[in-house]
Symmetry: C2
Subunit: 660 residues, 2 copies
Amino acid sequence: MYGTGTDKMVHSARVPLNQVQIQDEFWNYYIQLVRDVVVPYQWEALNDRVGSAEPSGAVRNFKIAAGLEQGDFYGMVFQDSDIAKWLEAVAYLLEAKRDPALEEIADGLIDIIALAQQDDGYLNTYFTVKEPGQKWTNLAECHELYCAGHMIEAGVAYFQATGKRKLLDVVSRFADHIDSVFGTEPGKLAGYDGHQEIELALVKLYQATGNERYLRLGRYFVDQRGQKPSFYQIQLDERGGKTHWPSGNEAVDLEYNQSHLPVREQEKAIGHAVRLLYMLTGMADVAAETGDKSLLAACRKLWDNIVSRQMYITGGVGSMPQGEAFSFDYDLPNDTVYAETCASIGLIFFAQRMLRIAPESQFADVMERALYNTVVGGMSRDGKHFFYVNPLEVDPKACGGANRKYDHIKPVRQEWFGCACCPPNVARLLASLGEYIYTVQGNTLYTHLYIGGEAALEVAGNKVTLKQTSNYPWDGKIKLEVIRAEAGEAFGLAVRIPGWCKEASLTVNGAGYPLNDQTMINGYARIERAWQPGDILELRVEMPVTRIYSHPLVRANAGKVALQRGPLVYCLEQADNGPHLHEIVLPRDAEFRAGKEDSLLGGIVSIEAEALRLRDEEWPGGLYSSEPAPGMKNDTVKFIPYYAWANRGEGEMSVWVREQ
Amino acid sequence: MYGTGTDKMVHSARVPLNQVQIQDEFWNYYIQLVRDVVVPYQWEALNDRVGSAEPSGAVRNFKIAAGLEQGDFYGMVFQDSDIAKWLEAVAYLLEAKRDPALEEIADGLIDIIALAQQDDGYLNTYFTVKEPGQKWTNLAECHELYCAGHMIEAGVAYFQATGKRKLLDVVSRFADHIDSVFGTEPGKLAGYDGHQEIELALVKLYQATGNERYLRLGRYFVDQRGQKPSFYQIQLDERGGKTHWPSGNEAVDLEYNQSHLPVREQEKAIGHAVRLLYMLTGMADVAAETGDKSLLAACRKLWDNIVSRQMYITGGVGSMPQGEAFSFDYDLPNDTVYAETCASIGLIFFAQRMLRIAPESQFADVMERALYNTVVGGMSRDGKHFFYVNPLEVDPKACGGANRKYDHIKPVRQEWFGCACCPPNVARLLASLGEYIYTVQGNTLYTHLYIGGEAALEVAGNKVTLKQTSNYPWDGKIKLEVIRAEAGEAFGLAVRIPGWCKEASLTVNGAGYPLNDQTMINGYARIERAWQPGDILELRVEMPVTRIYSHPLVRANAGKVALQRGPLVYCLEQADNGPHLHEIVLPRDAEFRAGKEDSLLGGIVSIEAEALRLRDEEWPGGLYSSEPAPGMKNDTVKFIPYYAWANRGEGEMSVWVREQ
């Protein structure tokens, strides 16, 4: 049997959000947007009060299940999860800053949720309202445990934020019920959900309650996945072949939901990207809490496959619209890409968990890449429009046109989705951003992300307050000031030297500090000393505009280059450069001028370059010609950060540009 | 009302195949292959005697419908058309060269077909055997008129070949029945088929029988298409929404089958490519026979859209797998392409009909392009394996792998298809190749294709025999010798100067003949004189290796070049060049060495070039890198004609190559 390790691995605990006050010009905008716009807007959407958007039905479903309203269930079978994710986002906002009005709304919603719970602890409005006789009969497709997991995350977060136990008790009772239903013991269902999520949620519930039953149950779901014969096939047979979705694939396409093999035997990232990343997050959590090295090794193996063969430069993952899934190695098309916002959020979760176990900068590098490019790009500057799919090359003529391979690509962000997974996922991630900046491992405080603010953390018994200031991601001067260090004892401060950075320097109280094999550890510069209040560590990471190339086997990017500056990937947009972006070529010796434009797109550093552009007016006519190709003319082109694209109407966009 | 023209346009008649004896090294192989292998092999397949291939059931369906066997209908609703296309191919073989054994098999099959015809003339095994109550209730999806059209083509061809009327009478009775069922008169169905074909077939039946009723009926089907309200929607409603195919799209997606607008109002090629091209062929036929200029204008408009915006360099058309359809202008992806073999055959039909009306070399250029590249490439050298889809860039790792957007791409030719439209279509085209070489317009004999052999034609009352000899497509020396010219009067010989040709020269009996605005007409060099037996016209079209570029708006080919030599488009194959073809770059100044290789792929001219290749071994590792891109190394690469690819096992292939 797997997972017999019983000792925890040394790992960093979660950083409570009330101990990390973010004060950062770049991020304050987004976090405030989540507080002022996104969360209120989503509350309206969940209550079907956004007239122009697709209705949600999610709140009403709970009211109906609670007996407070009459009516039919509306929406996806997993509609409950939108409520849970919203509530989780609210909890993080409250944890960082109490807000009585918001808390009152949340308390009211929790009261309804509690009323919707059944006597045995079961909680799911679809099966309560619409198919009461079919509970737990279709794990592959119907996502009861997925919804349960999100509600558990909400319950834990709300308890951590407010100390209020009501939702925590609801989800604990639900978890107890799940524990009575699932397992390998006779009379139990030896199953697991088609959409992973419950695993990581149960570890959170264990961490919040200390009840090891939840950790064991989480480990059970991890270990049971992919055992033969297929649980989904057994249930499909028991249902007489009946499927929930018309395609019916989810019960038989075991790769789609990563149940084709036991998790430790999976060699490549495959199937639905969000599912895989939630699964890996749960695996890392279980490994951390049980000391299961084989599980950690499985996490590393799939991490390596994802980041070295299947990740876009933007931190997008899952390159196929079919199944919202990973493809094969190096298959990273830019125009038919999927790269769901939720998948990049899942990648950040997974990276965070790996960082808690193993503070290696590779994890933080990927976290930063996904965060500053795909995740921030997933939301409009107004907080009311979202990308589900994050392409790296867009021609609006193709979107919604005759060629259906582009059907999933939207040239502008959408209001709300029938399957509204991404918007509340963005909200809960941004609302909890304080969790991702620091970890403490042994007597070292690691800084992974350069986001300004003050953090109060305990480092080997020493109460430490650290203040971070920077103008990141626009420049690379980062100042860490020790505000408090009670014990007066030596401890380590470790700062990440980003993978994209070729030139970094460090000073401590103004004195240079060498960066070399002795002072660098796993990508971090670590300085151990008896840090005193007033001590200042200054890191300078140079941010020249940098040309980035893809691995030679990425066919889609052959002969192409992308620009990156600091953590930000750049793109060309039609708004700055006119149409036909594929006619632009960047000479190898082109120089770049990066400059701050405060009035553009909320304030960005844009990049101008002297490029070449096809003289398409010289084309002799016809579809094919043996005339020499038209020459190139000089043209100044302008790049903007990828995250800021599609905020100026519909137009072409391209990250990768031909180089000559 | 449209189509009120009643005068024929001046147009060339069909050239009977017994008047064109092909003697040509390149084509003899394929035509003999059709006679010796393809047609016998397909007969076995149609009789379900090819063990390893998908069963057909087509012959057995006719036996069951004829009451000769018991059993259920098997196969697609349009399975009958495979029989008809095979019989049509047999007819062309017999027309060119009688073969008593083959004729006996065909006669036997025709006897069965005749027995399967119902008393009222109706003929369709699916509706006779499987759904006898549902005749004519689902024109959008069930293709009874499409099957009828193919059987009519077979009946006409068999009559022309053998003089035997049995099948001609069967299809005439069927056409009479169709005429009694369809029309705008009260009590008739004001409908038309979801898959065009009947239109062109009825014109052939008119031409063979002289019965104008068939021409009127063909014109009716052309004119009625796309009239509002939608006939398909009416039938769908009458069926209570029942559809034949699970998707049910065909009745509601009117663009798919080009019934979204009346044919004269259609501005762009859209929808299922084969349907559109069969429709255009029928439109051109009706225009020629009725003198309908608006119909001819519609043909020209859609021709222009296809060849100037939606055609691959290989003559492939229909770039989308969804719906086997045309996409939007300039959307010509090389790796997710469809480019069905049948669609290129349809393009050749359409070009042939346009040539009969208007001898302009643009039509013959496209005919040649499709014929020498996609169509010949659609069949293996052994005559038993076929491409349905003809990609321009293949990575076998992608085919059948995780990414389903490549599902339709096969890296090697397949044995037979459940939907077996392409193999018999290739057979009937190659068997009738003699029809495509010459036309006679007024007192001019036009030579469109350079295929050796002897043709006996009547030119303005003058019986002329012309002998063509060349080593085409390998070199461009073409000799036309007048063998017979009875009347001794002046007539014109016009020879096409191919669109790809930059340097051509002409001699008559050894004396140079200038090519200029006076002697050139619509792309043909025309020489009028009292041609005498023994007169020799020699044309020399230079065939250097030529770089071809795509229109700047073809995004897929930006920065890329293809090689063409004569009519042949070339490609790189892994068999010659190893894997990772996308790492190859062709410098603008690279020289080419073209050389005949008699032992390679049946004898080809291959092209060697000094190219550059990415030093991928220098890649620093990781998926993305800011290190300078690896340099290029010199490498000799080899191109082969596109039509010959995939005859040496699975491997990568690419037509378009990056240029620097």
